[in-house]
Amino acid sequence: MLYDIRQTTRYSYASPVPFSRQVLRLLPVAREGQRVIAADLVITPEPTERQDGFDFFGNHITTVAFAFPHEELTLETRARVAVAAGDRRDGEATPSWEQIRRQAVAEADLGPLSPVHFLFASRIIAIDEAIAAYAVASFPAGRPILAAAFDLTCRIKADFAYDPEATDVTTLPADAFAKRAGVCQDFAHVMIAGLRTLGLPAAYVSGFLRTLPPPGQPRLEGADATHAWVAVWCGRETGWIGLDPTNGVVAAEDHVVLALGRDYPDAAPVDGIIVISGDHQMDVEVDVLAISGSDAG
């Protein structure tokens, strides 16, 4: 599937911001099953310093500094990305979750996608026995990892209310779990906390969903903004599989990866030090248009 993606993030500040320094993760990169045909980030006003590069996890980062007062900031991503349909994987054919737990710890690879980076508590996602107690129902002894993780994905979809008022961007997984409510970021964090507490490697993925569903299918939740889901490591052979607890689906052709990491801060689209005295408003618009169905390559 070929997509034209357009994301516009507008900040307006109540009083002029004299100086800011930011790290942006707003450009998609090639990932397994995903090809970037063109991608561009337009920043208005023009920053004083701008550097493009890659962070540890291979995400494209743009580091900018504005050394002059500004009241508005607009970040506009335009990209054309091809997403492969991917093979339908048989969840029951993956190794048992206990095997995955042993294999992940024993991995010798330190590279960015090695499961060893995704086994531990992070700044936002703590090891959480309460969430593990909830998650463990999906993990009876010997169950194949993907089947178990998909079961957890669907349970979160069923048990949690999608409610943007319930949480905000700084909500911790434990709070969202206690409320059984939140948005995509919260569901992904809760699921990751459950998996890691059981000793399983799980990553946080941010990205886009196609805005309009294929004919005859319902529109997915989160299509009007940046979306987030989970990737679970299913062993060397199968690798990472995306699971979307907001929609209870496997992330495949409808999901475009923007960035990944251990938690939201690792993959946050905008990270920065803004010297600000007043309030600010942020407004995000996302359009993901499917322009063809087959030449995903």
Binding site: F19, A67, V105, A108, L110, S114, V116, H117, F120, G199
Partner: protein, 838 residues
Amino acid sequence: MPVTRKETLRRSKVAADRAERLIANYRPLPGIADEFIGPAGSIRPHWMRFVESMAELGPSEVQHRFGQADRHLADSGVVFRVYGAENGDERPWPLSHVPFLIEPREWAHLEAGLIQRAKLLDAILGDAYGQGRLAADGALPAAIIAGSPEYLRPLVGAEPVGGHHLRFYAVDVGRGPDGRWWVVSDRTQAPSGAGYALENRIALSRALPDLYRSFNVERLAGFFQAFRTGLNRLNRHEETRVALLTPGPLNETYFEHAYLARYLGFVLVEGEDLTVRDDTVYMRTISGLKRADVLLRRLDADFADPLELNPASRLGVPGLAGAVRQRNVAIANALGSGLVEARAILGFLPGLARRILGEDLILPNVATWWCGQTLERDHVVAELDRMVIAPALGASVPGLLDRGAVLGGTLDPQRKEALIRAIGRRGTDFVGQEAVKLSTTPVWRGEGESARLEPRPSILRLYVARTNDGWTVMPGGFCRISDQPDARAVTLHQGGASADVWVLSDKPVTETTLLASPDKVALQRRTQTLPSRAAENLFWLGRYVERTEATLRILRAIAGRHIGAEYDGEAVIAQLDATLAAAGSIGETDEDATPTERAIAMLTDRSDFNTVPRLAQASRRAASVIRDRLSPDAWRTVADLEGLLNQPLEAETDSDMLERANAALRLIAAFSGLVQENMVRQQGWRFLEAGRRIERGLAIARATRFCGLSGKAGELDALLELADSQITYRIRYVMLAARVPVVDLVLLDGANPRALAFQAERIRQVLADMPAHAPAGLLAPADRLATRLAAELSTADAAALDAGDLLGFEQTLMKISDEVALAYFTHRRAADALDGGE
């Protein structure tokens, strides 16, 4: 007087008896090695010598010497902040007066072991942040590296300037029951304690100079000198000195940061003193931005860059990680060096030493099993009761090991079960360690003839530095001693004391002092870098101290008028009270109180910002962040002032007030004297001086406005008193105080150091010598105001001055203060991130 043989014998008999009493009840604990008594049960010879020397001194002399050492530490302000104590309380540093003695042969072994370990850990860091071969080959599990909270991913691939991650490294070692030295833990993040070790050394060597010399104790200065030279060599641009980056005065070891900066000749900076532009680090100084090439880091790495590391940090420098990647700054230790503090690594070190160095470890680790491996995990769970269970990768495991290590055997069944379940799921997070009981060393207990030595558990922190000649070990260290006879863990958070560590030499040792080091020989008189934050604190220190003085003088005048019961005392007191009110010194709540009640509140109350105790506190706070720039005496005076003013008054009488005010004013006079006589006339002094002169000018103008214009003799007398000018007046004019001559003396007489004209001229002079902020030949706004004020006062007519003129002078002084702030301190306002200093 010659001493007879008989007398000598008698004396030595007394000394021998004393020595006998000192050690009579010394009983090593069963199953634990002891420093004093060797494995064969006899006192080790070097310790016996020590006991004999102490016995020869005699009990009263010993007490006197120990007291000297304690006073030295108290006077130099050696403190250790206790976290969690209310208001970050400081408590005096406890020194155990008996040093920890190490023989030459044993030291050689430790030294070789430490150097080997520094090499090894540095190599592991280089690999973890570089090629990752150790993980790929399975020599060190990738999960240990990836799981450490100190594995800082933005630094992966960054090669440190100078080629080494480690430059200053500390090891905690202890002697195990088998008599061998064991490494308990490694400190690679930002090791503390070396400054305290130096202070302990100075205190003890001064108190026991003869003993210190006769024992041939290895000196410490050479080590610090070599370390400093090594860092200075990395300073390529030399626009600033090497900077010591501190988290600030709230940190528990801030004293040490200030102390080391002073001792090593480095600039003490906080995160906000630095800024990154185009991947280059600059220091914000009063002369604009200056390149900073080398940072000695005492700030935890995670806090060092809110942009790429911990976003919650308010202490760091946004963009610092980027500057490191571009190799534009050298940081000691490199960001991310804390990685090798992970306990999980300990178990792999013997293998890593063979693989990397081709050698066996000289100093063994405490036996450690990482539960991320199946066999090791099963062993730990099976032996849980006999083991220490500790966090494998970080400082704690939330919910299970919140305070770090626990002894398995001490856990209640519920906690034990929870821990075993967690180890089963996430063995990665835990290690089991052998519970080692460390050796005991003598401490001095009791006084006089009942003094005796007792054994206490101890642990040594030893230091290794990277120098131009490779790795160098500090011949000494920091010994921590438990105050419990059977304590297993020795930490300062839990109480205890510290002792000096004497490394004994076979040969006489050579004297070295840091001051005579070869890299300092070049004569220098140029102004050293002054960070804007330091300048600002000096300026406010000047203002606060002077405001304290002015307020005290008014309070003293009020108290004195009650006692003197002068004829128009009440009216004068009302005017003095109004002066205080105009200075903003009296809060609204006090309006119903009488002037006397208000004066007592001003002197003792802490509720309002402008009361004397609060002003003294503000002075001390400003001084505390620039401690590296004040002499120990000057610092002590400011601290004493706060201490004095925070004691409750014995009784709220005028004479008590008078006494208190006089005592405080004497301390302020001492501070002024120290500043005037001891501070080199460099930029730092100018800011302090500008602050004092502005505040003094404000006080005298205000006092004149309220007490100098009515022409009443009582008020004029009070004004002369506030301006300390009664004697001059009486000598000049043999008459009652009269308006015009008084006003002339306290405002316009340029020869009177209390007069406004004198302040204006001094302000003009110090501003002129500050770094230029205006195009050549033009006056900056502050200079223009000061020049105009000085000229106006030198030409004014005392008879013609009215309240409006005086208010105008006060406003001008406040404007000068604002302009100085704008020109030199604006970095504190975020907006200045713009002013490039270009």
